[in-house]
């Protein structure tokens, strides 16, 4: 620190240093203001900040809803009706919350798809914290779906919590522990409300870790090139901060449109009926953002198999950074075959979303099995394609794709023994139209 001269009260020169370069603000400056971002990022990179905006929206709208919501089995449904009808702007705030959850998931799926397409899973810490955020979001949205205590809310809670009974030895006791009794009831509602309130704040902490890890390694770019010279980099502010704000505004306007004109688009009709433990709805289906994983759950004929496949469906994403593929970027952007595989996989996921909304009868059950096989088959085929392409032009050959081939076939053998019922054999009639 420069010494003061005689008679000088303070170091006037230090006042010329911008506030953002002083003390703790310099940490924030390095992460936000002066953070270097590749110049060639495209619109798919803005969904990260949009996700942060949606989290903020959910926290604020959820807070306002929580001031009127009553977590009691006799009053929960009525409190929701009270919010909709009597509370000033209550229906709008509830619309923001419901439609905000749908947009949150849409943006998250796009964000993950961007990560797979451009090879962002190579940043392992960022990827794993993102997977944790995805699981937390799924849990939070499930808990929140139960709170209105409509028919679909109640039975979704029964179905999903019952899945835990498939855990060997501990399962039945765990289900009763979560229920707080012998069935879904008051205790369940209260603890779900508490968990639903606290989990977004846990998500905020994980988001800070996620962004911190990202800023340590630097943002990726559509070419996937690692440029240590910093020639193709720009400061986050003002270019990307203003663009992020613009996209947040667009998302907010779309959310406003949904909340004003299509408020109840994502609310199933059964959820306008108060929960009745004695009456089971004809078709129990989750929200649209869970339909693909619901289809995977229903594809196995055994309950345990379905739960295992569901967990594997998320673990498959988590295993992507572990593949020691290649020392070359070789992402999907440089592989025509990879692009075909990726978009086929996305189409399959859209198809699985539709299949999940259909009843569990033929031909939907048969198509669900095909969709599940395509979903799981994508990962090894996609990664093997990248490895083969990388080896095609490298003078230094790497044989890592063999690791994936062996892993794939071994896991198929294991899964076929434990997950599928040998008596479940497709007959000739199944193929008839």
């Amino acid at each position: 620190m420069p010494c003061l001269r005689q008679g000088e009260l303070c170091n006037w020169g230090s006042l010329m240093i911008p506030l953002r370069h002083r003390g703790l603000f310099s940490i924030l400056n390095k992460s936000v203001w002066d953070y270097k971002v590749p110049v060639n990022i495209n619109n798919w990179w803005y969904f990260g900040s949009l996700l942060g905006f949606m989290l903020l929206n959910q926290i604020i709208s959820g807070f306002f809803l929580s001031t009127y919501y009553v977590a009691h089995v006799d009053h929960a449904f009525d409190s929701i009706v009270h919010i909709n009808r009597d509370v000033y702007m209550g229906a709008l705030v509830r619309g923001f919350h419901i439609n905000g959850a749908s947009l949150f998931f849409l943006f998250m799926y796009i964000h993950i798809g961007r990560g797979i397409y451009y090879g962002c899973y190579r940043q392992a810490g960022v990827w794993y914290s993102g997977i944790i955020l995805m699981v937390l979001l799924m849990a939070t949205s499930f808990l929140g779906y139960v709170l209105p205590w409509g028919q679909m809310s109640y039975w979704a809670a029964v179905v999903i919590t019952s899945l835990l009974s498939t855990i060997p030895y501990l399962g039945p006791g765990l289900v009763d522990w979560i229920w707080g009794g012998y069935s879904v009831g008051q205790a369940t509602l209260t603890r779900f409300y508490s968990l639903h309130f606290i989990m977004p704040f846990i998500m905020v902490i994980v988001v800070i870790i996620h962004v911190g890890l990202l800023h340590e390694s630097g943002s990726s770019n559509p070419l996937g090139l690692y440029d240590p010279s910093g020639v193709g980099m720009r400061s986050f502010h003002p270019l990307y901060s203003c663009t992020d704000l613009f996209f947040c505004l667009v998302a907010f306007l779309y959310l406003l449109k949904l909340s004003c004109f299509h408020t109840w688009m994502f609310v199933p009709c059964e959820n306008w009926i108060k929960a009745d433990p004695m009456t089971t709805p004809k078709h129990i289906t989750p929200e649209w953002y869970f339909l693909w994983i619901y289809a995977i759950l229903r594809s196995a004929p055994t309950k345990g198999g379905g739960v295992a496949l569901m967990i594997l469906a998320i673990l498959a994403l988590a295993l992507m950074p572990l593949t020691p593929l290649t020392h070359w970027q070789g992402g999907t952007q440089f592989s025509p075959v990879g692009k075909m595989l990726f978009f086929s996989w996305v189409t399959n996921l859209l198809f699985m979303t539709w299949i999940g909304s259909q009843p569990a009868t033929w031909p939907y059950s048969y198509e669900t099995v095909k969709g599940t096989i395509i979903y799981f088959g994508f990962y090894p085929v996609f990664l093997m394609n990248l490895a083969i392409k990388a080896n095609k032009f490298s003078v230094n050959k790497y044989n890592y794709y063999k690791l994936w081939t062996i892993t794939f076939f071994v896991s198929c053998l294991v899964c076929s023994y434990y997950l599928f019922d040998p008596s479940y054999v497709l007959t000739f009639e199944d193929f008839l139209l």
């Binding site: 590749p38 110049v39 060639n40 190579r122 390694s217 770019n221 559509p222 070419l223 996937g224 090139l225 690692y226 440029d227 240590p228 010279s229 020639v231 193709g232 290649t326 020392h327 070359w328 970027q329 070789g330 952007q333 440089f334 592989s335 025509p336 392409k389 095609k392 032009f393 490298s394 003078v395 230094n396 050959k397």
Partner: protein, 156 residues
């Protein structure tokens, strides 16, 4: 076998690192971007010289190369080296200054083209024949040293 021939040919130009940290000398005194460097040949020249198998320039390889996006922005295959990998990072560090500078210029040009959503004119696209595997000798050198170090440590 072709890879071995290539390695022996370029090994003379990429001296083994000795203790004391002697840096490899530059082997390209007057290098121009996109021109074959002295001592480092393009794939086409390597095939002609018999150092690389002819199947490396097959139609299938050419189609896969040409339909990948990176030749259109003037990148070579070795420009896509993943700098986060320790082996590749060390090999990048050992690149001669002019080779490294040319690589940086190509990468910067590609990033700017990507930012503008443009590609180079077709006559400037990299082809499989004009691609130069300039990283090969340095990666081999680093791998050899790692194996030697591993063998040395296993004797302790």
């Amino acid at each position: 076998m072709a890879a071995n021939k290539l390695m022996s040919a370029v090994a003379k130009l990429a001296p083994r690192a000795v203790q004391g940290g002697a840096k490899p000398t530059s082997m390209i005194p007057n290098m121009k971007i996109g021109t074959p460097w002295a001592g480092l040949k393009t794939r086409g020249e390597l095939v002609e010289a018999g150092l690389m198998d002819e199947s490396e320039l097959s139609e299938q390889h050419k189609n896969v190369f040409n339909f990948s996006y990176f030749p259109e922005v003037g990148l070579m295959w070795d420009d896509l080296a993943y700098g986060r990998d320790p082996t590749v990072r060390e090999a990048l560090r050992r690149l001669p200054p002019d080779v490294h500078a040319a690589r940086m210029v190509r990468i910067s040009r590609a990033l700017l083209l990507s930012a503008q959503r443009k590609v180079l004119p077709e006559e400037e696209w990299t082809t499989l024949e004009s691609d130069i595997p300039y990283m090969a000798p340095y990666i081999e050198q680093v791998k050899r040293e790692k194996e030697e170090m591993k063998e040395w440590k296993s004797k302790d």
